[in-house]
Amino acid sequence: MALSVDRTAHGGATRMLDRTRTLPALLLILPSLVLCLWIIGYPIYDVAHTSLHSVNRFGVVRNFAGFANFEKLFDDPIFYGSLWRTILWTVTVVGGTILLSIPIAVMLNDDFFGRGVARVIVMLPWAISLAMTAIVWRWSLNGQYGMFNATLFQLGLIDGPVEWLASFDTAFPIEIAIGILVSIPFTSTVLLGGLSSIPADVYEAATIDGATGWQRFRYMTLPLMKPFLQIAIVLNVINVFNSFPIIWVLTQGEPANSTDILVTYLYKLAFRYGRLDTAAAMSLIMFAILLLFTAAYIALAARSTEREA
């Protein structure tokens, strides 16, 4: 009883304090708020405006086109192909990255000789730009004089040049594999951060109670890491969905658009074909897809903090 009265009084005081402080506080953050809204809002407005008009290569807005640009896109088989491959690409790259990053993070969390060096080695690729990594891979995968074929040849696994990037069947899985490889450093760092926040005595207690290594991982590590896994998944989805350099450098979406994903096809539409209006419509669609993921991210984050509290 006394407690509840106390709480109300306290709450009332806070509200009083709020009212006298809200206005100046709002005024103080107003400039940055306006700037933020403008920086985020204006491009969205501009893209939406472009997508509803007929716009030429040089950005000159001509007449209102309604949804013609969207219709053009929905009539385009390459758009659907790219959309399907974007999903395939995002799911496999993010899935593969998470599956590989968990054991890597667990291993790096264990204390062993040379752990510092091992951590640096895992993180190091992060420092190299994606485009550079992709170029090195393109050289390595060259059918005639690439390192990759040379190695396979010396091991006796192939008896002639294999052009890995010449068809979808080999090129796309390779691109996915490289996508996974470059996403691991970031993801395992996030997961490692999560792991090191789990106190060691919990494990000690479990071990004394007779939990096996697998049980400890399945029923302790995984649930405790859940918020970190969610963050890693959502950030990776946004990142991989928009990832341009690997596919562009390796195949430019070729042969015959078979490795195009939305973002590479978007680049072609806008800057090669000069279809700024259709490209704007397409980026709006991509924005909507990512918005769904971001909403999911916020929902997930809210739910996990709720549970913690």
Binding site: N56, R57, F58, G59, V60, N142, G143, Q144, Y145, G160, P161, V162, E163, W164, L165, A166, S167, T251, Q252, E254, P255, A256, N257, K268, F271, R272, Y273, G274
Partner: protein, 412 residues
């Protein structure tokens, strides 16, 4: 004491600078030139032009910007859209139609005296003319020819280069049968110019890219050309899986002596000279199907309508950029064909036998047709060819589908 002096001195210097610099900026006419990056020589050549022109016109400041071909179109469209277009730029002639149709390129007929016009080789001036209006000058020109490895062909029993596609197939078969690990015919199947590599076959079989305002790639000639290339791939006369080889990959094979015949432009001569000086090769015309043809390419240097100093910009082109001295230097260092008669007469070009293999083909050279959406048409053709080369589609079906897409793009 010393410090006070230093402060005073710097104050005086700053005042002087402030007073002087706007005066300088106002009195000089600034001409911005976007230079496409052909090679590492390009900027040096243009800097030579800049200093010559500025010496003759001290009131003009030429500002050069080096832009790579990959970024050029994107860079220019962004500049134009943002209202910061340069005064002069080099562009691919195939883009010119868009620039003319959108009122961005300045017609230059009024600036050009008949004497100046007469200095050009007619065939190269032509591609920059749209509906009788000239929109630019040819800054670079090239044609394509067949490079062949003399040793590989001689070992296979061919002392003369193949003249027809039938002979190419026979020679390639002989090179393959010899079993030295070399490929008969280099085939390009990836990235920029994959379609061009096939247009050679289309044109030499009597086809046209555009006929009566429609795409001609699905014509009988087109199907024949695609069937020819596909059969060469299937018989192992080319390197395996050509959809993995872009132009550089294919040219590397030739430089390494691992491809007996490839089709390429004059730049390859320069590369062979520095990278594979011992390669025993020669040049021959593009093989014939039913008729002779090659691909002629020009790049255009144009003046922007938005420029405030079009007269000065023109002066720069006429007096300096297209002076005999700078033209010879440009074409020689970049390995292009002469576009002006005086250049062609210069001993460097007149005595160059290999170059004559290219210039000899000019009378029947095909230039890229001036159609809107060229890049889209080019990609549609490339995608169709890649499906044919991979065996995912029959030539007739794939080409018809691509032609329909191109027709839509042309008629827009």
């Amino acid at each position: 004491m010393n410090r006070r002096l230093a402060v005073m001195m710097s104050g005086v210097a700053a005042t002087a600078l402030l007073a002087l610099s706007p005066a300088f900026a106002q009195s000089k006419t600034e001409i911005r030139v976007i230079v496409a990056h052909y090679s590492d020589h390009t900027m040096g050549i243009f800097q030579g032009m800049e200093s010559d022109f500025e010496a003759a016109h001290p009131d003009v400041d030429i500002k050069l910007e080096d832009v790579s071909w990959d970024n050029l179109q994107q860079r220019l469209t962004t500049d134009i859209a943002g209202g910061t277009a340069p005064d002069i730029a080099i562009i691919g002639t195939r883009w010119l139609l868009d620039y003319a149709a959108n009122d961005i390129a300045e017609p230059i007929d009024e600036y050009m005296t008949p004497e100046f016009k007469a200095k050009f080789i007619e065939a190269f001036l032509e591609p920059s003319v749209i509906d009788g209006v000239t929109y630019g000058l040819p800054i670079a020109a090239s044609a394509r020819a067949m490079y062949y490895n003399k040793d590989l062909l001689a070992n296979a029993g061919f002392n003369e280069p193949p003249k027809t596609w039938d002979e190419v197939v026979k020679a390639a078969q002989a090179v393959k049968d010899k079993g030295e690990g070399a490929y008969g015919f280099g085939m390009q199947g990836k990235e920029i110019e994959t379609d061009i590599y096939w247009y050679y076959a289309l044109w030499t079989h009597g086809g046209e890219l555009v006929q009566d305002g429609k795409s001609g790639i699905d014509s009988e000639a087109g199907v024949k050309a695609a069937t020819l290339y596909k059969s060469m791939i299937d018989q192992g006369l080319t390197q395996p899986s050509p959809t993995g080889s872009n132009r550089q990959d294919m040219e590397s094979l030739f430089k390494q002596g691992r491809a007996a015949m490839i089709l390429s432009g004059p730049w390859l001569r320069g590369q062979i000279k520095s990278e594979a000086p011992n390669l025993n090769y020669a040049l021959a015309p593009i093989p014939v199907g039913t008729t002779q043809a090659t691909y002629g390419v020009t790049d255009t240097i144009m003046i922007f309508k938005s420029s405030e100093h079009k007269d000065v910009a023109w002066q720069f082109l006429e007096e300096t950029a297209f002076s005999d001295k700078h033209r010879v230097e440009f074409s020689k260092k970049e390995g292009f064909l002469p576009v002006m008669k005086a250049e062609a007469a210069d001993p460097t070009f007149a005595n160059d036998e290999q170059l004559q293999a290219f210039t000899g083909m000019l009378p029947y050279a095909k230039f890229a047709p001036l159609i809107p959406n060229w890049e889209l048409a080019s990609d549609a053709a490339t995608a169709a060819l890649q499906r044919i080369y991979q065996g995912q589609a029959e030539p007739q079906a794939a080409l018809t589908e691509a032609a329909e897409k191109i027709n839509e793009a042309i008629q827009e």
